[in-house]
Symmetry: D2
C-alpha cells in the first residue's frame, strides 16, 4: 500500500501581481517562474522529494520524508529571495489524488489564491517517522516510443509537440479518473506519474487507452520507495529495461 | 501581413545524455532544463524576442530583430555555462507554422537530434533590417475566464490543472490546424499564440471552438509589433481591456 | 573546544578550461562562477553548512553535520548541471586553519589543480555523529562601524571599497596568523570568520589591531553551535546587540 | 584618450532589509547577492558591458554603449524578479575614477543608501553615439605568475588566498592612487582593471610596486575598444601572449 505525502505549493496572489500596476514583461515572468521552480526542485530534491511545475503559479510536490520544519525553511528561503511569497498545504493518503485534495483544501480554507491578505499559509501534517515504509511512494515514468525517429527528426517541432501534448493530455486525464494518479509532463517525451498501488494490468490499461484514444504509443517503467527520489530512480531504471528489451511496454521494478 | 522569424532551439543529443552512463537524478534534470529556459528567456528577451519552453529539450523562439551574430553569441553563452550544447535553426515566413517548418528542416538536414556528432548547428536566415515592419509579429494572449473563482479556489489543484490542460491541448491543436498559429502554455491559465495576420472573426472562432469542444471559456487580447516584446505587451494590455469591460471575449489592440 | 569540519572545494582544471580553445567571454565566466557559488550556498546551506566563495575556483565550506554521502551528492549535482566538475577534500580539527590544511593536502596528493586527468576527487573524513557537540563551530561576524554614514554616503564607491578592502585584507591576515581563524568577506561591510575557541580578549585584540594598522573600526558578534548555520545565526544576533547598545565592540552570545 | 562610462549600481536600503524583522539566513543572502550579480553580468554583458561585484550591495559597471533606456530596462527586470530594488547612477569621463565619482554623487544627492524612501534612482548621462570611439575603454587583465605551481598546489587554500588577497589589496589601492584606475578581483588569481589611457611604463610601474610592497608577481595584458567586452577580450588575448612568450610582464594589444 502506498502512503503519498503531497504538498500543494501556491504563489500568493500571483495573478494580480503580474499586472500591477501595469502588465509586467513576459520574459521576466517566465524567468521568475522557471527559476522559482528550479529552486524548489533543488530545495525539495535535496530532501529526496520531487516537485512538478504543473501551472508554475501552483506546483505539486511529492514530499515524503520532508517534515513541517523543512517546509517552513523552504517557504522562508523563497521569501528571502523572490518578490513573491508562497503558501504550502501538506497532506497524506493512500491515493495521491485524495491526498492532494486535502492539501488544496487547507489552502482554500485559509483564503482565495488571490486574497491579498492571505500570505504564507503553512498547514497540514506529514507522515510520522515510525509509520514510513519503503512502499509509500509509487512512481511511473512514461515515454513515447521512438519519439526521435518518428517525430523529432521528421515533423516540424510544433507538430511533434502537438503529438506529445495530445498524448499527455489524454494520459493525465485518464490516469486521474481511472487510477487516482497524478501525471506530469517533465520535458522531451517524458511523463512522470505519482500513483497509488497500481499493478501491471493497470499500467497496461493506461498505455492501451492512450494508444486507442489519440494514437500515441507509450511505454512505462514503475518503481517504488520510501521517497520520491528512490521510487523515481527505480522507475527510470525500469524504463531503461523497457528500452533495451524492446518487448513489453510495462516494466515494474519490484 | 505578418513576417514572423522563428528559431528552433534544440539541445544536442540530450536524450542519450540524460541516461549516460546511468539515468541522472530527475531533480537535476528539471533544474537544468528550467534554468536553461530561464537563461534563454533573458538572452532572447533582452533582444526583444520571446522563447517558449514547449518540450524543454526543444524550444521555440520568436526572434524578429535578432540577427545571426546574436544567435551565435547566445549559442556560445550556453556552451560556456552548461554541460550541454544547442543547435539553432532560423527561418521566416508569412505563417509562423511554415516558418517553423523551415527552421526545423535546417536542423533535420544537419543530422538527427540524437546524433552525437551533430553539435551546435547554426543555420538559417533572418529578416533584413530594411524589410522589417511594425506588423511583422502578431501575438494573442489567451486566458481562462474566472479561473481563480471557478477552478483554483474550488477544485483540487490537479483537477484545476486538468481543466486548464484540456483547454490548452484543444486550443493549441485547433489554432495550428485552422489558423497556422503556434500556441504555448505560459503558466497559470495563460496561453500565448504566435499568429499570422488573423482578424477578430478568427479569434472568435477559436474561442468558440474550445468552448464547444472541451467546455473551457477563454478570452483573448491581440497585439502586433516589430518584435515579439512589442506585440506581446500590446496583447497583454488588450487582455486587460477584456478583463475590465467584461463584455467581448476578443480585444484587438490595432 | 571547537571541532570544525572544513571542505575544500576546487573546480577541476578550471584555469586551462577558461582559455581553451580561446579565452572565454568574461561575462560568462563571471556568471558561471557566481551561480556555482550560489548553488553551493544552497546545497551546503540546506544541510546547515556555510560556503565562502574566496577565490571562486576554490571555495571553502564549513560542513559540520554533512557526511561523505551528502558530499558525493553535491558533487554529482554540479556535474549534472555545469560544464565543469569539482573535487572535494574534507577534514576536521580543533583549529580551522589546521583542518583546512589537511583538506587541501588531500586534493594536492591526488594531483595538481591543473591536472586534466584528476577529476572529482572525494577524499576525507567527517565527524561521527556521536562525537558532535554544540560547541563544535565558532563563528564571528564582523562589520565596519557606521560604514553607510562615513563611507557609502560620502566617498565615491571605489574609495569606499578600498577602505573596506584594506580592512578586510588586514583582518584576514591577522586572524589567520594570530588566531588560526579563516575570515571571509561576504558583501557590504561584513566579514565572517570561522574560529577556534577564542575568547573576548582575542576578538578585542583583532579589532584593535585592525584599527591601529589600517584605521578601520570594526565590531563583532560571536556565536557557536553544532553547525555553521547555528553558530552563524547566533553571531548575527550578537552583532545586532552590538549595534543597539553601541557600547562594547565585542559581543559574545554564549 | 579614453572616455569611460561607468554605472554605480546600489541595492536600495539593503543593509536594513537583511536584518528586518530578524537577521535573514546568511546562505539566502549569499545566494541572492551572487545571483543578482550573475544576472547583472548577463544584462550588462549582453549589451557588451562588464559588471564587477565589488561589495555586492554596491556594484560597478563599465557601460559604454548602454543608453539610459537600457539602464531603465535592467532596473525594471531586477524589480520584477527580486525582493529588492536598485538605483543606478551613470557618468562618463577621461578618468574612470572621476567618472565613478560623478556617478556616486548622483545617488548620494538623491538620498542615503539606507533611506527607505529613496528607491530606483535612475540618473546620469551616457556618451552620445557620435562621440564614441574605439579607444574609449582601456582594460588591463592581471594575473599572478605561476599561481598554481607556487601557491594552489603547495599551500593550504587559505594561505594561497591570503597571498592573492594581499596582492589584490595593494594593486587596487595603488592603481587608484597612482593611475586613476579601478581594479577588481574576478576570481582565481585574476584582477581586471578599468584604466585611463595608460602606457607600458605605467603598467610596469604597477607590477613593480606590487612586487616590492607585498612580494606578489603579476603580469598584465592590456586591450582597448569601444566597449568593455571588446577591450576586455583584447586584454585576455594579450595576457595569453605574456603567458606564452614568458618574457615581458606587460603586453599591450594596440
Amino acid at each position: 500500500m502506498t502512503n503519498t505525502q503531497l504538498t500543494h505549493v501556491q504563489i500568493d496572489n500571483y495573478g494580480p501581481w503580474t499586472v500591477t500596476p501595469e502588465p509586467r514583461r513576459e520574459v521576466d515572468l517566465q524567468t521568475l517562474q522557471s527559476r522559482l521552480f528550479a529552486d524548489l526542485s533543488q530545495l525539495f530534491g535535496n530532501r529526496d522529494g520531487y516537485v512538478f511545475f504543473s501551472r508554475f503559479d501552483n506546483m505539486i510536490a511529492v514530499s515524503n520524508g520532508i517534515d513541517m520544519d523543512a517546509h517552513a525553511m523552504i517557504q522562508e528561503s523563497v521569501r528571502n529571495r523572490y518578490p513573491v511569497t508562497m503558501s504550502l498545504g501538506v497532506a497524506t493518503g493512500r491515493s495521491p489524488a485524495t491526498a492532494l485534495g486535502t492539501a488544496t483544501e487547507l489552502l482554500q480554507e485559509a483564503g482565495s489564491a488571490q486574497d491579498e491578505h492571505r500570505r504564507e499559509v503553512l498547514e497540514g501534517r506529514t507522515i510520522e517517522a515510525d509509520f514510513r515504509t519503503d512502499e509509500d511512494v509509487q512512481i511511473a515514468h512514461f515515454d513515447v516510443n521512438d519519439a526521435t525517429e518518428n517525430l523529432t527528426d521528421r515533423l516540424n517541432e510544433f507538430d511533434t509537440f502537438i503529438h506529445i501534448e495530445q498524448g499527455y493530455a489524454e494520459l493525465m486525464r485518464y490516469m486521474r479518473e481511472a487510477h487516482d494518479s497524478l501525471s506530469f509532463f517533465v520535458g522531451g517525451d517524458n511523463v512522470i506519474a505519482v500513483c497509488p498501488a497500481l499493478d501491471r494490468a493497470d499500467y497496461r490499461d493506461a498505455v492501451e487507452h492512450v494508444h486507442e484514444s489519440v494514437d500515441v504509443d507509450l511505454k512505462v517503467g514503475v518503481g517504488r520507495g520510501e521517497t520520491a527520489s528512490e521510487a523515481g530512480m527505480a522507475a527510470k531504471h525500469a524504463l531503461e529495461e523497457c528500452r533495451s528489451n524492446n518487448g513489453d511496454r510495462v516494466e515494474i521494478a519490484f
